[in-house]
Amino acid sequence: MKEKLKNLEEALAPISSGNTLTIGGSLLRRQPNAAVRSLIRRGVTDLTVLTWAATTATDMLAAAGALRRYEGIYTGMFSYGLAPNFRRAVEQGAIEVRDFSETAMVARFRATTQGLEFMPIKTLLGSDIARHNPEQIRPFPCPYTGEPLQAVAAAKSDFTIIHGYVGDKYGNVQWPIVRDSDDIDQMMASAAKRLIVTVEKIIPHEEIMKRPTLTYIPGNWVEAIVEVPYGAHPVSCDGHYDEDDAHLTDYLARSKTAEGANAYLDEYARRPAGHDDYIAMVGGLSALRTLDVQP
């Protein structure tokens, strides 16, 4: 096995402006926010982003003006409403958007996982999702019945960034038994070309080996693994900590204007030297521990 433990900046160093990124997490869970703040700090821009149900990570990239193109199933703030910065940028025509339904996006990651250029679906027959995207949703007939099907294009990205629960230095990432599984992180990981995983905690390889069925991202798929406690803050990591309501409320309030959002990013993404600084900014570990939930 190969050691893949890096610090956040080292792990993200290969990512550059113009790249296509797959970003994991779903709704207010396991958004790789620490990684995204680091990219914003470095000024990476002109990104194409593929997501599942996106919230903070994608909205911060939109606020930073770093999003050129977006492909996903949802961007919003879950119980907090719409995603203010993403919404503003899209309404200004600043982001090229391609919408996909859940079945379609799943099919795209499965295609890549299975080494194919497409997967067949029949979900989007007649919809404007397909009408606006003839490049990535193509009609073709079923080879058995002749019925109309749609071939959705495989999800291809240069890098995939996922925030996981715990892992070892070889990149094996495990999930807890009690968790919220309403996402496609494992699918994104299996489809990744270059996979960077941040985890709440690095644990000994011996612990991983005792329960190999809990490994949802095998180290074999991983390029770099980074220990980033509270790496999803201000959203939650299920089984570890809850979302930070006060911080999210503040984020949304400041995001009412582009200037407010930019000031937020200056304060929380651009000015801190790194994730440790960020943690200090939001009150330190002692403040974050108040968000902890029972494991």
Binding site: S26, T103, G126, E147, M187
Partner: protein
């Protein structure tokens, strides 16, 4: 929804109505929703209705919510924090949400609940963008699995408030294909039978005319007149000769909703 003059709220009225649409053994998809009134429409009313059905005539009805299959509706989360969802007990929590997508695509669901920003004469739904898709007036959330619902679920139930901005002649963007352009147009593009079954609003219930597939008034809520309905719609629905009144909830239904299912008015708050 505002209180009616009679002794039940409109939320209670439509919840009871929906619960009677649920058959024993039905598997219903309920979305994760957002906050405020949108939460009531997308999550609160549907969960209450299915639970009510379980407690009255459909004990084997169940729900897929988030990625929980058959969560325990007898002890619903008291708040919307992540940990409350994480620990919600259920029969199954599959390894990823692809399992749900597959169940949709293989038509394993019977019913689903959908809300949206626009719905049109033929029941097409828009949750993606208002205005020009490339540079929209309002960018909405995207698609989620709502296209799947209309494509694959036999009996989708749309839950929205009656509003002229919502009920439009033609949606700006077809996220979910309903009855498309009416008639056989839905089948003609390759979709199976189905499409939206009923549309439940705060003033009336609609279904779709069997031939034209145009939205049709099915019943008016107690105290609501035809003109009030027309005033709140951007198109004129099909109106049958006789329009019945939406049946009221009975005493047992009201008691279950108020005292057992939602005693703290979390689900039907607004």
């Amino acid at each position: 929804m505002p209180e009616n003059k009679i002794d039940f709220t409109t939320n209670e009225l439509v919840t009871a109505l929906i619960s009677r649409e649920i058959r024993d053994g039905d598997l219903a998809f309920v979305g994760v929703g957002t906050n405020g009134r949108a939460f009531t429409l997308a999550v609160g009313i549907p969960l209450t209705a299915v639970r009510l059905a379980q407690m009255t005539h459909a004990p084997a009805a169940s729900v897929y919510w988030g990625n929980l299959l058959e969560p325990d509706l007898s002890s619903m989360p008291a708040d919307l924090r992540q940990d409350s969802f994480t620990r919600w007990q259920a029969a199954a929590c599959p390894s990823d949400t692809g399992v749900k997508c597959d169940m949709l695509a293989r038509r394993a669901f019977d019913v689903c609940f959908d809300s949206g920003a626009q719905v049109d004469r033929f029941g097409n739904l828009n949750i993606t963008a208002i205005g020009d898709y490339r540079k929209p007036k309002v960018r909405l959330v995207g698609c989620l699995a709502q296209p799947e619902h209309f494509a694959f679920v036999p009996r989708p139930i749309v839950v929205v408030d009656l509003d002229r901005r919502v009920f439009v002649e033609k949606v700006d963007f077809i996220t979910s294909v309903g009855h498309l352009r009416g008639g056989t147009s839905r089948r003609d593009v390759g979709l199976s039978e189905g499409g939206p079954h009923i549309v439940v609003t705060d003033k009336a219930i609609f279904d779709f005319a069997p031939d034209t597939k145009a939205m049709r008034l099915r019943s008016l809520h107690p105290g609501v007149g035809l003109e009030e309905v027309f005033d709140n719609m951007g198109f004129r629905p099909v109106v049958p000769d006789e329009v019945p009144t939406t049946p009221s909830p009975n005493a047992r239904e009201l008691e279950l909703i108020r005292q057992v299912i939602d005693p703290n008015r979390v689900l039907l708050r607004v």
